[in-house]
Amino acid sequence: MAIETKAVGKTFPTTTYAVGREKVKEYALAVGETDPIHLDHEAARGAGYADVVAPPMFAVVFKAPAMAPAIFDADVGMNFALMVHGGQEFRWGPLVVAGDEIQTNVTVRSIDERDGKGFYVFESVSRNQRDETVCVGTWTNIVRGV
């Protein structure tokens, strides 16, 4: 059976995420960051940032509300029982700090079948309140036995 590709190009509603100081600190501690610019707003200010700096992988936090509707979309139609997160890429622009507001847009970039597996690729573009692109994420989910 051919894989269903009708969702390619589909976009999802823009989400807005307000980056909070305590959330950045909670995330930084969970991933083992020790640099005080992530944990102490005075240290961050001393280093020239407006507030605590989000570690680069904090992108998964501000992107999550935009990604969930895409991953669970009925037109995309992934079989979660047979799905694995196969690959991930992020490209970063200016750093995100507490106080930023991040808007994210997600697109279904491609759906392909190779070797009996479905490859579902999603792209998310996140911009800050100055319209600078702070992070572009590419998610590849692989579904066995499509």
Partner: protein, 126 residues
């Protein structure tokens, strides 16, 4: 950084409750990461690490070597197998090329002899 140079390796052992803290911090409450019984019911050895937490360790190895979070411009990874709590993870990396203020680093995360993140490539501002 010079081509062929190894990064300082990063070693980290996620403690028993790390996946619970990371679930809260990231918002990813998939029960395979936090519920031992459910994880076993679906055929896993027990609760497994979030792949994106492990990717964050690969990212941290880059930023700690390159002098801060501003230096990490791109990171791409492939996830393979699964990571487990309470077992040490080692992130290693080797500079492949340097030019135009950018270094490309080949990097992996290994646990118990398995590369749980492989074919990873980082682009660093140097």
């Amino acid at each position: 950084m010079e081509p062929g140079e190894d990064l300082r390796k990063l070693q980290v052992t996620p403690d028993k409750y790390l996946t619970v803290r990371y679930a809260g911090a990231s918002g990813d409450y998939n029960p395979i990461h936090i519920d031992e019984e459910l994880a076993k019911q679906v055929g896993l050895p027990g609760r497994i690490l979030h792949g994106l937490w492990t990717m964050a360790q690969v990212a941290r190895a880059q930023t700690e070597n390159a002098g801060g979070p501003h230096a990490l411009k791109r990171l791409s990874v492939q996830f393979r197998g699964m990571g487990l709590p309470e077992h040490e993870i080692t992130v290693t990396g080797t500079v492949r090329e340097v030019g135009d203020g950018t270094a490309i680093v080949d990097t992996v995360a290994e646990q118990n002899g398995n590369q749980i993140i492989r074919n990873a490539e980082a682009e660093l501002e140097v």
